[in-house]
């Protein structure tokens, strides 16, 4: 992908070429004159060495234009991802939009669609199995946390669980400073060697800036560790318009640009060419209700803006979408999921986190993820476009059929309907009202529940005994490294097995 080019190929563009360039110029101005905080000494040293202006006391870093531009140039447009079995999975940033469930929700909406409670390892296990089974959920993720896991363990119990229930690449991250090297050990155990982890990237790590304009100790260290360990990075700004970011959408896009370029420079300074995804999770502050929706239209508009910036920089883009701020799986859930998911695709976003998510992604519904999968299937049908050739245009067929004719009995229909129409569907209702009533009025949640119950009975892509043993050993080591006892590690493994 070329750099510093206005991307005409995106279907939805909210800014003109002039505006994109104006955001870029303003971002460079802010980076050069204000800069931002990096609360981690090694980051300050690395940035100073690269030519940035560093004040160690205030931890502020100012970025000369030339360094920012050089780092934009060195970051790649695409990179390959591999699955748990070491097979090539996809080229990330290839122009396709891929989807993964939620991220880091603390609660689960139970199958009844009403009860919300803290999420546990049994929920993550089931969610991951279901995500593995769904054709349009492309990656798994650290979608929910496990109540059982001690805080010291960060996200390690999540990886431990995810890797045993899916072969799909993981969208993850670290919630503590030691997180990246610890997860690396778990990956190494499952993938077989350090070299495999380094040469066949199996995960992308989300790393969040603290808006406005601060990379925390954890964030800065995660960036450095990921770059050193060859784990692709997804930089994320989750600014809240009107609180941790300007209330104006253009201002949010500017701040987002400044924040991400700061993180990008650090990653490229550590290792030029390291894959960085241009990500975000924009929220707004609703002045009437003091709520911070992630799926208000304004959030999609900010995403549209920063997606244009990311593509201007020749980087793959990420966002949170295809989820909802509703509290239940209702019309609002459907409309927000559809609106934001479709817009993300038309905005040229490579990776969309959110399926299954509700209420500012504080809650996950496994059933909603199943329904979202059906919706995402329709997006992928759209993404494939229309078949356009002599056969599909069918002028001759039209002439043969003529006024008042019927296409139902034509060979052309039988031959083409599976290619032309999307029949990937688990939960949506495409039947007459009468037959629907006759079959018992199953609603969309009923169908999703039935699907989840079926998957729950199955064992899906378990690790071999040997790999499982290696993972358990690595997990125990990681627990000990985090200050936990071997007994706690064993207890966590037991709870996993019983979940």
């Amino acid at each position: 992908m070329k750099k510093f080019i206005y991307d005409e190929s995106m279907q939805f563009r909210i800014m003109t070429e002039k505006q994109v360039k104006e955001v870029h110029e303003n971002a460079l101005y802010v980076l050069e004159n204000l800069g931002m905080i990096f609360a981690y000494e090694e980051a300050l040293r690395l940035l100073e060495k690269a030519g940035c202006e560093v004040d160690y006391e205030s931890q502020k870093v100012k970025f000369p234009r030339s360094i920012v531009e050089k780092c934009i140039e060195s970051a790649p447009a695409t990179f390959d991802l591999y699955d748990r079995e070491g097979n090539f999975y996809c080229t990330f940033g290839d122009g396709k939009t891929r989807f993964n469930p939620g991220s880091s929700a603390g609660n689960i909406l139970e199958a009844d669609g009403q009860t919300v409670r803290l999420s546990r390892v049994k929920d993550l296990k089931l969610l991951t199995k279901v995500a593995q089974s769904l054709p349009h959920i492309d990656f798994v993720s650290s979608s929910i946390v496990c109540e059982e896991a001690p805080g010291e363990l960060g996200s390690q119990y999540l990886y431990y669980t995810e890797m045993q229930n899916s072969v799909k690449p993981i969208i993850g991250g670290a919630t503590d400073a030691e997180g990246v090297p610890r997860t690396f050990k778990l990956f190494e155990a499952v993938l077989g060697s350090e070299e495999n982890v380094r040469t066949k990237p199996y995960a992308i790590f989300d790393i969040c800036v603290t808006s406005p304009l601060k990379w925390s100790h954890i964030g800065a260290r995660n960036i450095i560790d990921c770059a050193n360990m060859n784990i692709p990075i997804e930089l994320i700004s989750a600014q809240i318009a009107g609180a941790t970011g300007p209330v104006t959408l253009a201002g949010c896009i500017l701040q987002h640009t400044v924040e991400l370029l700061g993180g990008l420079v650090l990653a490229q300074v550590v290792k030029p060419g390291h894959p960085v995804v241009y990500g975000g999770a924009p929220c707004i502050f609703n002045m009437k209700t003091m709520y911070t929706p992630m799926e208000a239209m304004e959030c999609s508009m900010v995403t549209a803006g920063y997606a244009q910036m990311g593509r201007f920089y020749g980087l793959p883009v990420h966002t949170y979408a295809a989820m909802s701020d509703s509290k239940i799986v209702d019309y609002q859930a459907g409309s927000e999921t559809a609106r934001s998911g479709l817009l993300a695709m038309l905005e040229g976003v490579s990776n969309v986190s959110g399926a299954g998510g509700l209420n500012v992604i504080a809650e996950m519904s496994i059933e909603k993820m199943v329904i979202d999968n059906d919706f995402i299937g329709t997006l992928k049908h759209l993404e494939n476009g229309i078949n356009f050739d002599e056969t599909s245009l069918a002028a001759q067929l039209l002439i043969e059929t003529g006024s008042g004719g019927n296409f139902m009995n034509k060979k052309h229909t039988l031959k083409n309907y599976k290619k032309e129409q999307n029949y990937s569907n688990i939960t949506m209702n495409y039947q007459e009202r009468a037959s629907w009533i006759k079959e018992g009025r199953a609603d969309i949640m009923d169908k999703a529940r039935a699907y989840v119950a079926e998957i729950d009975k199955k064992t899906i892509c378990p690790l071999s005994d040997e790999r499982r043993k290696a993972l358990d050993e690595a997990f125990t080591e990681v627990c000990k490294d985090a200050g936990l006892t071997e007994e706690t590690a064993k207890e966590l493994i037991r709870m996993y097995d019983e979940a």
Copy 2:
């Protein structure tokens, strides 16, 4: 608007410039070599006089290329609409997307969200009042039929009801051959004079082709009458891919083009320059369930194609969207409404029929229309784009606020939040789960029901006694003209008043 130009300004384009031109060339080829049926002698005579090749026995008309091109040239890109009070309402085709509820549903989904029954005049009265009250429903329409009205009366009882409960322009149509002149009489009574009806268009008439490739007696006569009486026309092909149209989406786009150009030629032959909207209601035939969804993704893809053709011809475009094939107001209803509504807007559609519609628009839900209005409000917020100037970009504010700062207490926030954020909302949930539970867990349908109940208590924009009297007289005349007795007319008026 220029003619025969590939429209780069549309946000979503499913065909390339080359493909658009190929559809055009193929359509001209089919029009010239196969043509289509017009089952109305006057239409045949008019088309023959204009230079088409007419076979009176088979009623087939073949169209020389030059005539088709001339008629495309003469049809206008925009036209003005007026409200019931004679005030300018909008320029149709000005680049904005406008929305109106459903059309011609025979059933109503009651407020309980479960019970479906035949629709009655009380439903149309309430629906029209609610549509009048909603800020994002731009037009009213013959959204539901009235069980009480005798078949002979066509749509006249609908107009009688709509005009008394809304001042917004009407998207209507005629279901019988005499429909247009009869409705004209009702309009004349309410608008005050024949001249007002002719010079201040207050309605657009939907006229449907019988796919494949046939303009019925009713359709052809409606076109001629509308053109003569200066009522803007919305030509609609409702072909079903795989049944009354080719199963291939490209084939559907081609057939749609042929069908609409045929109708367009007739309208322009009657009166060059008469406003014609390039409309459609594409369905697909689901081979698994024998169902014909209107809101499957494939339908939006066909719309994307014919919208490009309509814009290529410099015409305003119409479609059915922002509705759902679900049987209840659930996630599917929300996601299909959002996906199709958003796509229609990005496809540059001027007029979207469908809000409130369910189950292949066989059913209307007034509550869903209220919820759809909220969703449409978010689309209009998107349509307005982002404010982009020095104030909104706020680089200086960013520098003043700096790392770790807070925007909540900034004047900039207070001054701009109402402009930047969409606060038009009746039913969507933008609050914390805790406060939602505390307030009684009102779901989206509860809120819509409460809104409808409030409107139900009100009288909204009634006609003056004088205008009402004129309308009653005209309605009675129309009833008699349709072969009904004066007593039946009085009974219908009484039922209206009691509804």
